[in-house]
Symmetry: C2
Subunit: 440 residues, 2 copies
Amino acid sequence: MKNILILGAGRSSGHLIHYLLKYATIHHWSVSVGDLDPALAQNHCQNHPNARTFALIANDTQQLYNEIKQADVVVSMLPFALHPPIAAMCVELSKSMFTASYVSEAMQKLHASATQKSVLLMNEIGLDPGIDHLSAMQIIDKIQQKGGEIHSFKSYCGGLVAPESNDNPWGYKFTWNPRNVVLAGQGTVKYIENGNYKYLPYHRLFGQIQAVELGSSGSFEGYANRDSLKYRQIYGLPNLQTIFRGTLRQKGYCAAWNVLVQLGMTDDTYTMEGSKNMTKNMFIHAFLPSNITDAPNYLQQIFGNDALQKVNYLGLFDNEPLNLNQDSTPAQILQRILEPKFALRPTDKDMVVMWHEFIYNLKGKTHKTESFMVIKGESPESTAMSKTVGLPLAIGVKMYLEGKITLKGVQIPTTKEIYEPIMEELAQQGIIFTEKYTAL
Amino acid sequence: MKNILILGAGRSSGHLIHYLLKYATIHHWSVSVGDLDPALAQNHCQNHPNARTFALIANDTQQLYNEIKQADVVVSMLPFALHPPIAAMCVELSKSMFTASYVSEAMQKLHASATQKSVLLMNEIGLDPGIDHLSAMQIIDKIQQKGGEIHSFKSYCGGLVAPESNDNPWGYKFTWNPRNVVLAGQGTVKYIENGNYKYLPYHRLFGQIQAVELGSSGSFEGYANRDSLKYRQIYGLPNLQTIFRGTLRQKGYCAAWNVLVQLGMTDDTYTMEGSKNMTKNMFIHAFLPSNITDAPNYLQQIFGNDALQKVNYLGLFDNEPLNLNQDSTPAQILQRILEPKFALRPTDKDMVVMWHEFIYNLKGKTHKTESFMVIKGESPESTAMSKTVGLPLAIGVKMYLEGKITLKGVQIPTTKEIYEPIMEELAQQGIIFTEKYTAL
C-alpha cells in the first residue's frame, strides 16, 4: 500500500486531498494529512477509510522525519520557506516531493543530491506557477513543431472574485495568502519588449499598467510580475524579443493599490513605534506630512476620486483601533485592515483567469495565438484557486505513483511527458483553455 | 616617540594629516600614512621629517597587524565597512582608534572587549556625524543648565559648492564619495513631528522637502535623513516632540534628483543586462515605457521644466556610449554619468553648511535658538569638507595622545570633556557657529 503524505491542509489543499482520496480507493493508497490545526485535515478527509490525519508541528523535525520515512511521496502545501529543509529530508530518505511553489535557490542546490538518489523534487506544479507552464509549453511546442518562430510571449494570471460576487469597490477579495497580496511586486520588475530590456521599480509598478481585454470574459488590467526574463530559458525561447508576465486585476484596482504603495503602507522592513495602540486614522497619518488636516481631500487631489473611494472603503480615515497584539510593520497592519474588507462571504465565488499571447513567424507571415482559461469557484470552501492549484499537483502525484514520471532531481513541469497528460485530465475536470488564432 | 597611524590618504585626509604633522613637530610624534596609492600619502606629507608613507593593501591583514602594532593610535579614513575588522585588531593589540563614520552594529559589538582592554574606539568625530554632535550637545547642555526643556530639534547639514563656483544647473558638485551621494536616503525615513511619528518611503523622499532659509548665507532646501529617532537617545532628549535631521541642497536639486529616483536609476540591487555596451540614451529608455518616443517631452510633462533642464544637463538623452568595463547596476551607471558633470574644477571652492534649531520652554515661555556655520573651501584639494571632517578627528587624536580623553570602549563625541575643547579649537581654525536667539 503506497502512502501519500500531505503537509498542510489549508483552503488550498481541498481539491488536492479530494482528488487523491478518490484515487486512493481505486489504487489502495493511503493518504496522511497533517496540519497545525488537525480539524482542517479532518474536514477535508471526512473520515475517508484511506485517510489518516494528524497534528503537524512544522518545526518538529523528528515528527517530520518519522512521517516522511513512512511516505512514498510527499506534497508540501506549507509556506515556501519551509520547503528546502523538508526537501533535504526527502532526499536523505529517498522520497520524492511535490510543491506548487517557485524553485528557490536553496531548493535548486538539492538538484545534484536528489538526482544521485533518484529522487524527484517537482516544484511549480500548481496554478501560477504550474498551469502557466503546462499550458504555455503545450502551445510553444505546437508552434515550434510547425516550424514557427515565436518572438513575443505575454502571459497574465489573476486570482479574482467572480462577477456575481463582485460587490466591493476594489473588485477584489482574498482567495490566497493575504500577506503575499500585500507584498506582491516588491523589488524591481524586469522584462523585455521589442528587444529592449525594461526595468520598473516597485514604486512605479501599479502606475504603469496594461489593459487586458478578454471579450465576454471581461476587461481587466495587469501589472508586471517581478522577473519575466528568466522565462526565456525556462521555456527554451532565448531569442524572444518580447516577454512579459503579469498579474490580472479588475479595472481600477491598481490605481487604488498605488495609493497604499506610494504612502509606504506595504513596507515590511520596520516596525512602527506605538502601532499597537494606533487607530486606522493614525496609521494613514503616519505617512502624511504633518500639515495635512484633511487627509481624504489631500489624497483625492493627488490620486483622484476613484482611487480615493476605494481607499475610503478600507476605513483608513476612521478612528477605529487596530487592536494589534504588538507593534507591527506597515505591511502587517495593512493586512490586518484588508482582511475583513476583502474576505469572501459564505455565498461568494472566486474566479481564476489566465491568458497567454504568442506572436510568431511561420512561412514568412506573422501569426498570433491567444489561449485563455476562466474558472469559477463554487464557494469559499471550494474555490477556483484551490482547484487550479490542487489538481495539477494531485494529478502529478498520481502519475508519479503510477510510474509515469521518470524525471529526477529538481524539476518544473515543462516537458511533454508531464504537461500532456495533466492538461488532458485538467480538461476533464473542467479546466479548459480556449485558443484563438489571428493572422497579423 | 608616539606613533599615529593614518589609514587612507584621499581628499578628506588632507587637513587631518597637516594638523597632526604640525603637532608632531612640537610633540615629537611620528605620523605614518598608508594608502593604496602611496603618492596620495606622499602628496599630503610633503617629505615632512616626522612623516612616513607606505603603500597600504587594506585586505592584507598581516600588513595591517604589523602597522597597528607599531602605532599608539590609529585613524581610519577607509570605507566604513573596513572599520570593524580594523577596530577588532586594535582591541587585540590594545590600541585606540578614531573614525569619522557612524557606529555600525559590528563596531558596537566591540564595546565590551574594548572597555576591558582600556581601548577607546571613537567614531562619528568628523563633520556629519561629528561636528553635528559637538555643536548640538554644546547648545543642549547650555539650555538644560539654564533649566530649559527642549521639545523640538531640527538639524541640517550639506556639503555644497560655494556660490562663486556654482555654475551648473544642479547647484551641486561632488565634495565627498559620489557613490554615497547616489545611494543617499535609501530605506525608510523616520522622524517625529509634534509628537507624531512620521515615515517617509524613499520614493517620496525627494518630493517632500523643507525650505531652509539662512538669511545672507542663502536659501536652501532639505530632505530628511534616514533615522532621526535614534538621536533622542544619543542627545539625551527622550521627550522631544519634534526631531528632524536632514541634508541641505541648493533649491531645485531635490525635484531633479527625484526624476532619477522615480525612474529607478539609483537602484544598486541588480545588474542591467547588456549595460556594458549601452549609451546614455539607452540607459534612460530602459526605465521608460516602450511607447515613449520623445523622452524629454514625456518627462517634462510629468516632472516640469526646471527638473528636466537639470536632467538634460547630465546628457541622459545623448547617444554617448557609457564605456563600462562590465555590466553594472543602475546606481553604478548613474555615478559614472554624474562624475564628470559634478566634478570640481581647478578654481572651484566648496561650502559646508550646518544649521540647528532648538525650541524650548524656559520659565513659562517658549524660546528658539538657532546655530549655524558656513565654511568655504580654498580649492578642490583643500575643501571645506576635508577641513570639517579632518580637523575634529585630528584634534581628538591630539587630545587623546595628550591624555585629555579618558573615555574607553565604543564612543561618539557627545560629552563636554570632548566637545568643549574641540569646539574651541575649531573656532580658532575658522570653524565658527553663529547663534541666533528668538523669543517665540
